[in-house]
């Protein structure tokens, strides 16, 4: 490799330019001549400027001007989108998936699958580490927010616990309300006596308990006082329940259960959700799909198809994206899901909405992020090209109007090894030493 190799990217140059602008507040900015994908009813605005003051979008239009000293970014027609949603993930609540000491997404207080412990009050956001190595990696991919998800595991229950949206700007606390996660279907039937039917039995029992129809000191009581209070809130419609479920038959039961008890739900996964698209649209249940999950990986997904997103949307369902695989480290892969949804029949604007507005609205942060609109926080990404195409990358992201360094541990590793093997003969120190100290 060439030792004289120099790394000069647009993003780096741009960051330097921003730093050089003394005087203006860090959250002031004018982006000029962008293809602005607003993710609102306004759709896409060609050759448009976006003015940011105090971290908030103040104007969107043509020929905008900024006061002296405010940094100006020439977009030259490149796409500008809201900062993207990274799906339901464990960014910041896991580092190395295989190392238990670094993962916090699932609670298992019981001893194995036959020892169900139901703790809906479990809140994964308390484990969130804004300094996680994964946070900057996601940001480099244009990901600005994610919903921290709680997972079910043996020794816990199908009521996995709570998560919330975090903005990946280094702030420690969620920006949205808590949501409750449920695990249903094949993946979780081992947690309810090896039957899917047991899941509805258990959930009805929890409804009874949360509503006081089972006394706290009953031998059948499953909840702590905090757990009762938590479930009482979600079961009265004050809070969203996100159900991970794939099979149409289970989704049908979920719809009935949620309507019976007045529970507000969204679906994650939903491989066969397209089969119930009209019902889901009528019930206004958003579905977060993994577009690439097109195989019958189990008997809950015999109807899996790449057209799931397009079919749901065509029926009027609000469609977002989330991954079933390594959703944390590869959170940036959600863009590929959206692009492939388009390749399989979904409208481009709808696919972008699935990465921006739909998750923001569904998870209660639409007043903060998810669209480019006057009055919204300037959570923006400037792309090299069509953001739904993996052939393009994020040039620069701003969160709350602040330019985010487009660096991560991965880019540092890359830059270190781009230096090439040092010559011991020439007296050069190993790569472990900083560049320039040879």
């Amino acid at each position: 490799m060439s030792r004289r190799f120099r790394i000069v990217t647009k993003a780096a140059a741009l960051a330097l330019a921003l730093c050089a602008c003394a005087g203006a507040a860090a959250q002031d900015l004018l982006i000029r001549n962008a293809r602005v994908h607003t993710a609102t009813a306004q759709g896409t605005l060609e050759g448009t400027d976006v003015l940011v003051q105090g971290g908030v979008v103040r104007a969107i239009g043509k020929g905008l001007s900024a006061s002296a000293g405010v940094p100006v970014v020439e977009a030259s027609g490149r796409p500008l989108t809201p900062a993207l949603f990274g799906g339901i993930s464990g960014v910041g609540i896991e580092e190395v998936s295989g190392e238990q000491s670094t993962t916090d997404a699932a609670l298992a207080l019981g001893n194995g699958p036959k020892d169900m412990v139901v703790r809906p009050e479990f809140d994964v956001t308390l484990a969130y580490n804004p300094d996680s190595i994964l946070v900057p990696v996601a940001r480099v991919g244009g990901i600005g927010f994610t919903l921290l998800g709680a997972d079910s595991r043996p020794g816990g229950s199908i009521v996995a616990g709570q998560g919330a949206v975090v903005r990946l700007d280094g702030s420690p606390d969620p920006i949205g309300p808590r949501v409750l996660f449920l695990s249903l279907g094949a993946g979780a039937s081992g947690l309810t006596g090896n039957s899917r039917a047991g899941q509805w039995m258990l959930l009805d029992q929890l409804v009874d308990e949360a509503r006081g129809r089972i006394a706290p000191d009953s031998p059948h009581a499953l909840l702590t006082p905090a757990g009762r209070a938590t479930l009482a809130r979600y079961f009265s419609g004050n809070g969203l329940v996100v159900a991970r479920v794939e099979r149409a038959a289970d989704i049908r039961q979920l719809l009935r259960w949620s309507q019976r008890h007045g529970v507000r739900i969204a679906i994650a996964g939903g491989a066969e959700a397209w089969k119930l698209a009209p019902e889901l649209a009528r019930a206004k249940v958003p579905v977060f799909v993994d577009v690439l999950a097109n195989l019958p990986s189990n008997f809950d997904q015999l109807g899996a198809t790449m057209e799931n997103a397009a079919r749901l949307r065509a029926a009027g369902v609000q469609v977002g994206f989330t991954q079933s695989g390594d959703a944390s480290h590869n959170a940036r892969k959600v863009r590929q899901l959206a692009g492939n949804a388009v390749a399989n029949g979904m409208a481009w604007e709808d696919a972008l909405a699935g990465l921006t507005r739909v998750p923001a609205e569904t998870f209660g942060v639409a007043d903060r992020t998810g669209t480019i609109a006057v009055g919204r926080s300037a959570d923006l990404v400037l792309w090299t090209g069509d953001p739904l195409d993996v052939a393009n990358t994020a040039d620069q992201m701003w969160l709350g109007g602040r330019a985010v360094p487009m660096r991560s541990r991965q880019t540092e590793l890359r830059d270190r090894y781009l230096r090439g093997e040092p010559s011991r003969e020439a007296g050069q120190l190993p790569l472990a030493y900083p560049a320039g100290t040879r």
Partner: protein
């Protein structure tokens, strides 16, 4: 096939050998009869008869680094006849208008578990890891392959025409891999790539020590190395008695001896750079050649050495972090491995999802490389999915590029394949039109998918 002596020489001299290896693909496997298992469970694959096909006026990526714009591709009797401009079609040829479309060789996945870990992933389908002993060189992946895996069909829709099915990575030595043509059949023998050498799956690092740590070992990386060495010492002793008529066949040692003499190509699951270096030294100690490291999340740290030793690196575009040995993954890994002269970078899947979109994985690498000023042309990147995996599997003399005389394994794309929007419109295998995105009669449906609503 490089003989052990040559391999050692290469390692000593470093430069030059790799490109020699690339230019001189191994001879057809039938010319190397040293492996007594060669004819067992032999391929019964037969190409499907088809009329000649002329694709006209397409952007053609030949697979060997060349790009021809507005070019034609002629295939006949299962072979590539010619790639060029203004080709004349035989009277009975099917003409396909390639205007605005791109043509590439059929994609090759060097690392798949389709059939051995099929969909649905039921317990009873879990046939990829013989986790009963750390060295199970005696098992053959082909004996686990379920030909009705729906994943073969979805991979075909992604342009995959050839794939190597490997045992999993639980064991130090997992067993033999098999190379298949991606055409549905009732038996795996009917899918076996005729004359392709077997692969040998080995695994470094975390997996074997995790699986066997509480079961008699190995429990450590040093235990891993001791395990490989003990196995190859046994194989050397077995190989020495090759002329002994009374020697009882030992399937385990037969496979390892086949790896030692080069009949079986060695594929090693190995993430870390330091471990790959250990395995290169292991190969040197026992005089065998490593065909490819797989996963190689840190391959970029030793890109020059891999190229100099003529070892391929079959990699993901950007997987990282799911375990400790994957912590140092970067998005430019394949691009950096690809840079040195004589390199052999491969995009592999190890995934029933990823195998459907190897082209998009490559697109991610191209995009990431561009951020640091490395421009990779499509005609170069396509080699990661075609020529280079063909080289690693020992079948480059028969497929992997669109050179005349090779198998007519061809994909017609709806545009530049390196995009989220790219789709394989038509796929030919040995000249037979086996997939068409716009014609349901040319889209395979595995037995398993019958009866459901999709």
């Amino acid at each position: 096939m490089l003989r052990p002596l040559t391999a050692a020489l290469c390692a000593a001299l470093l430069a030059g050998c790799a490109s020699t290896a690339a230019k001189n693909p191994p001879p057809p496997a039938s010319a190397t009869p040293a492996d007594p298992a060669r004819e067992a469970f032999a391929s019964t694959y037969r190409p499907i008869a088809a009329p000649p096909v002329l694709i006209t006026n397409a952007t053609v990526l030949v697979g060997d680094g060349r790009r021809l714009d507005g070019a034609d591709v002629l295939m006949r009797e299962g072979r590539i006849v010619e790639v060029g401009h203004g080709l004349a079609a035989p009277a009975d040829a099917v003409r396909v208008d390639g205007t605005g479309k791109w043509v590439t060789p059929g994609l090759i996945d060097a690392h798949s578990h389709l059939g051995v870990y099929p969909s649905p992933g039921t317990q009873s389908h879990s046939d990829g890891n013989e986790m009963t002993s750390p060295v199970t060189a005696q098992v053959w992946a082909e004996h686990s392959v379920w030909p009705q895996d729906p994943g073969f069909g979805t991979a075909l829709a992604g342009g995959i025409t050839t794939l190597q099915i490997l045992p999993g990575s639980a064991n130090l030595v997992g067993g033999r891999g098999v190379t298949l043509k991606n055409v549905y059949a009732n038996t795996v023998q009917d899918m076996k790539f005729p004359g392709a050498p077997h692969g040998l799956k080995m695994a470094c690092g975390e997996n074997p020590k995790r699986v066997y740590g509480q079961r008699g070992g190995p429990a450590t990386r040093m235990g891993n190395l001791a395990g490989y060495r003990a196995a190859f010492i046994d194989a050397q002793a077995y190989a020495k008695k090759a002329g002994d008529k009374d020697r009882k066949r030992d399937l385990k040692l037969e496979t390892l001896a086949g790896a030692l003499n080069g009949d079986i190509l060695v594929h090693i699951h190995c993430y870390r750079a330091d471990e790959m270096a250990q395995m290169l030294d292991l190969a040197k100690e026992f005089g065998f050649r490593i065909s490819a490291f797989h996963h190689g999340v840190e391959a970029y740290k030793i890109a020059d050495r891999l190229a100099a030793e003529g070892v391929c690196a079959a990699l993901w575009a950007d997987w990282w972090g799911f375990k400790m040995e994957a912590w140092d993954g970067i998005q430019e890994n394949i691009a950096l491995v690809d840079r040195p002269q004589g390199s052999c970078a491969i995009v592999h899947s190890d995934s029933e999802e990823g195998i459907q979109r190897l082209n998009q994985e490559a697109a991610k690498v191209i995009a990431a490389a561009r951020r640091v000023g490395i421009e990779i042309a499509p005609e170069r990147a396509i080699r990661w999915l075609t020529q280079n995996p063909a080289r690693a599997l020992g079948i480059l003399d028969r497929t992997g590029t669109l050179e005349p005389g090779k198998m007519a394994d061809v994909v017609l794309w709806n545009g530049n394949p390196f995009s989220s929007y790219a789709q394989a419109e038509k796929v030919w295998i040995d000249g037979a039109h086996v997939y068409d995105r716009h014609d349901p009669s040319r889209r395979p449906v595995s037995d398993f998918l019958l009866g459901g609503v999709r």
